[in-house]
Structure formats: structure tokens, C-alpha cells
Symmetry: C2
Subunit: 307 residues, 2 copies
């Protein structure tokens, strides 16, 4: 495949950036890939495992001359990072990001955007519970969605090029506006994460049931929650602080619905419960048919194999 960009700079070298790197290499999407991470340890690991063609100790050196700069830092760091690199961005370059929130990130980045540099916000909907430079793998984005959120005045040619890039990485690409994006991910990602964190916290808190019991007897459903509650704390703190409105709206709807189900339990209204539990099966079926999850029982997690 011909290069889509000559020089791509990855800023922040965690799960997403490292997976992007291996996916770019798999298809030859970039001439050269440079990288920068704030932590010296992360840069050291990146050099050790060959993550990026060159890893720079100076963020401005990493960005210099790049025709694509991908910001892969926590949402709260996007604005400060953009301020640091703005004046070394090459004219005609595209800046994008992979943050889970779009309205706040756009607001923080636009004020620093130099004339002649394109900014197109992005969000690949893919991840695992592992983080850091060693966590990446080339297939992470295959058949997953990447949402692009162009800002007012985004250049159509720059958008088309970034779309080809993400398609080359393995994703399906869709465009939407920032408000809608933030609401969609509040439902499909942010609220579920907060709920999972909460449930795991409650279990950990309950003195009449020990942690040992919670762990031993987790196969009844609880362990599915712990996977997503093991995600990176810094990333998720920033997500909730910056997608406040949409997340609180969905949590409000969730609490309302939970109260209605609690009332049905208290009143012994079996029909209400049965109907509710029947309806939710259809969504699962849709996800399997759309190829967004495995239909292997129990995620095919290797039920029962001795560790």
C-alpha cells in the first residue's frame, strides 16, 4: 500500500498509539513514524520494543515535519499538549486525536490551532483493559468503528485522507458532530464504565462479604464488570470530568429505570421483570450480528480451563 502520510507523529505511547503503530506497519501506511511520551520510562520501553521508528525526548522534535500528528494523551492533557506543539506544526499538516470525548477536546485545541493546519477530531471505539506501550497490537481496530468529528471549516480533502488512514488501520469510519458523539459514547461506554466501577467498589466495601469471597465467587456475573473497571484511572477520570453533562444525563435515566425495577422486585411484579429481561436479549443479538462481539458462550473465555 502506498503511504498515506509521509511522517506520522504519535504523542503519548499507550495502548492506542502502540496499536496504531503496529497497524500502520502492517499496511505500510506511513513513511516514518515518530513518537513521544512524557514519561522517560515509557520512552525507554518504546525504544526497547521498537515502538516508533524514532522516539524523541522532546515533544517538539517528534512533531516537527509531520504531516499527521495524533494526540494519544488523556483528554485533560490535550489542550496543554497542543499549546506546546502549535508553533512547530508544518503548514498543511493534519492534527487529530483519539480522545473519548469530543466537544471538550475541540474547545481546548481550536484556540491553539495555527493558520493552515487542519484539525479533525477522532475517536477509535476500541480498547482493552490493559494500558501502556506494551499493551498494543495491530488488530485492535480491525472491524471496529472510528468516529471522525470534523470542526467548522475542516478541509474535505484532509478529512478524506484521514478517513483512508483509519480504514487502512482496519476501522470502519463514520462522521458525526461533537454533541451527538458525546451522547452516543455516554451510553455505550462512559455510563457503563462508571456503573462497573461503582459495582466493583461496592463489592470491595461490603464487610459482611469478604474480598476473598467476591473474588472466588465472581463467575456468576461480577467478573464481567471487573474487566472494564480495570481500565486506566487517569483516562477515565478525565472522561467523566469532560463529558459531564451527557454522562450525568444517562446516569439519571439509568437511576430512574433502576428504581422502577427495584420497585417491581419489592412489589413482586414478576411480569414487569420478565418483560424487561426479554426485551434486552434483542440488543445482544444485534451486536453479535453486527460482528461487534463473539457469540461464543461466555465470550469464549475458555470456560473452566484450569489456569
Amino acid at each position: 500500500m502506498a503511504h498515506i502520510y509521509d511522517r506520522v507523529a504519535l504523542i503519548g505511547l499507550g495502548l492506542i498509539a502502540s496499536s496504531m503503530f503496529w497497524a500502520m506497519k502492517r499496511k505500510g501506511l506511513a513513511g516514518e513514524v515518530t513518537g513521544f511520551a512524557r514519561s522517560a520510562e515509557t520512552r525507554h520501553i518504546a525504544r526497547e520494543i521498537g515502538l516508533c521508528d524514532v522516539v524523541y525526548d522532546d515533544i517538539r522534535e517528534a512533531v516537527r515535519g509531520a504531516d499527521l500528528v495524533v494526540l494519544c494523551v488523556p483528554v485533560g492533557a490535550m489542550g496543554p499538549v497542543m499549546a506546546q506543539i502549535a508553533d512547530v506544526l508544518a503548514p498543511g499538516a493534519t492534527v487529530t486525536d483519539v480522545g473519548s470525548v469530543k466537544k471538550d477536546v475541540i474547545e481546548k485545541i481550536i484556540p491553539h490551532l495555527p493558520e493552515g493546519v487542519h484539525f479533525i477530531a477522532g475517536h477509535p471505539l476500541a480498547g482493552t483493559e490493559h494500558s501502556g506501550p506494551r499493551a498494543g497490537f495491530a488488530e485492535l481496530f480491525d472491524n471496529r468503528w472510528c468516529l471522525l468529528v470534523p470542526v467548522a471549516g475542516s478541509d474535505p480533502a484532509a478529512i478524506a485522507r484521514l478517513r483512508s488512514f483509519w480504514e487502512g488501520i482496519g476501522s470502519n469510519v463514520e462522521e458525526m458532530d461533537a454533541d451527538h458523539h458525546d451522547l452516543v459514547v455516554a451510553v455505550t461506554s462512559h455510563a457503563p464504565h462508571l456503573i462497573a466501577y461503582t459495582m466493583v467498589g461496592v463489592a470491595d466495601d461490603l464487610s459482611r462479604v469478604t474480598d476473598g469471597e467476591v473474588i472466588k465467587y465472581s463467575a456468576g456475573g461480577f467478573r464481567d464488570f471487573t474487566r472494564i473497571a480495570a481500565s486506566d484511572p487517569t483516562m477515565w477520570r478525565d472522561v467523566f470530568l469532560t463529558n459531564k453533562e451527557a454522562t450525568l444525563e444517562i446516569l439519571g435515566r439509568f437511576t430512574e429505570e433502576l428504581f422502577a425495577l427495584q420497585r417491581a422486585i419489592r412489589q413482586g411484579d414478576g411480569d414487569h421483570l420478565f418483560d424487561y429481561f426479554t426485551r434486552t436479549r434483542a440488543i445482544r443479538r444485534g451486536i453479535i450480528e453486527a460482528g461487534q462481539d463473539t457469540d461464543a458462550a461466555d465470550f469464549g473465555r475458555g470456560v473452566g480451563r484450569k489456569p
Copy 2:
């Protein structure tokens, strides 16, 4: 392996009974296994796939002469089923069950228990989102826990024999009392299921985000909830109706904690969020170390493979 029971009767032929059958055959734990299901269609499928040595159309024939009778019906059906079979139970036989709630089941079964028949309540902590006679497989219980809940006056020899049986099936076995059991599973299974059902219902309800979007963009966390929200509606209706107190207690604690996190989000208290999200990671680690889940990223669900 020598038979532990000469004749085992499985009443109700869904995921659990069918998995028990294949696990018994794998190790030769029973001389003969009989089966009964209320639905003619289920009995037909069972005969077709060789599930049970004999499938009876009459529940009393299935039970006659069995030295172990395993009730694998929804919790709400345990009492009525026991009433139907009580007078054909052989003296010295053991009756057990696999229901997810223990206090209510014991209360419903004991009044029908004939003199000379042992009842030991049981609960294998294993399952998948699939149900019915075709869903079973021999490995379901391997390295999972089975909780036995002896009742007042349970015969120690009968308990020891049932324990060997479950160990032969592949489980680790622990004994506890009914109240503690019902609280432990409220935390590790019942509350998580209700929460997952609720979240999936909310997503399905939200007119500003379509079902299509919920399905397409589910890889950000939501799909993990849909797996457990696809579980059998009848089973789960009965669980919530019969483990009402413990479930409502845990849901109350959950809501309290969720409100505290919502307040932290509203007030922008990043430290509170960060600390909370850090604490929950340890539980995940414990579950992996205890061999109760896979440490493969994303459950090893084959991230990104095209369907």
C-alpha cells in the same frame, strides 16, 4: 472412576442439567441418568442429542428409584416440583437443587420432604448467556465453585457423597449457610445482572441514540453488559422475586455509591474519581490470580477478527 450414585435423575433439562450430564459421563459418576423436562419440545431435543440415558414423559417415572435427584428448574418452580415427586422418592435418596437462591428454595422444599430422604441445597456458580438443552458442555463446572447449603439435620455422609459428586463434575466445593449464600450471590451475581439489564434497557429506550448506534458502537464497554443481560428471563425473574431482601440491600448500597460518584463528577472532584478507579483494579487482579477469569485482553474474545 467408580459410580458415586447408581441412578441420578435430572429434573429440568437446560444449560445446567445438560452440562451436568456431559460432565457425569466424562467421569462415569453415575450408573444411569434419567431426565425429565416439562416441555415436550425440550424432551424431544434431549432424546435427539442423547442427553440422559432415558428421558421420561412423566416426572415421577424419572425420579423413581433414583438415589440422587437434582432439581434444575427455575427457583419459583422448586416447591411445586418437589410436591409432585415427594411420595415416589426412594428412602435414603438425596435431593439437591442448583437454584441461585437458597433460603427461599429451602423453605419451599422442606415441607414436602419425606422421612428418610436427604435434602442438601446446592448452587454451582457457573453459567453462560445461552440456555436450553443444547447449551450444555462437560467443562462448564471445571474449576468453578459449587456452594452446598446443608439444612438442619443434614446427614454428614450424604453431604460428603454429594461433595464428591460435585468434585467429580469438576467443581471446587464450599459449604455455607443460606443467609450468607444469598448475600454473597446478591453481590457477585444478582445485583450485577439487574444493573446490566437496566443499562441495556436504558440504551434501548433512548430515542436520541438509535438502537443501530448502540449496537454499532458497543465495543467501548456496553457489549460486556449485554452478555449477561441476555440470560434467561424466567430464571432471573424468579431470582429477584425470591432473593428480594439481599438484592435490594446491595442495590441500595450501589445507588448510594453511584450518587457519590455522580456528585464528584458534577463538582469536578478528579481526585475522588481517580482514587476510586485505582482501588477497583486490585479486585480484577485477584480474580485473575484465583483462576476465575482469563487475563487475555478483552477476554481474548478475538478482538477485531472479522466475523
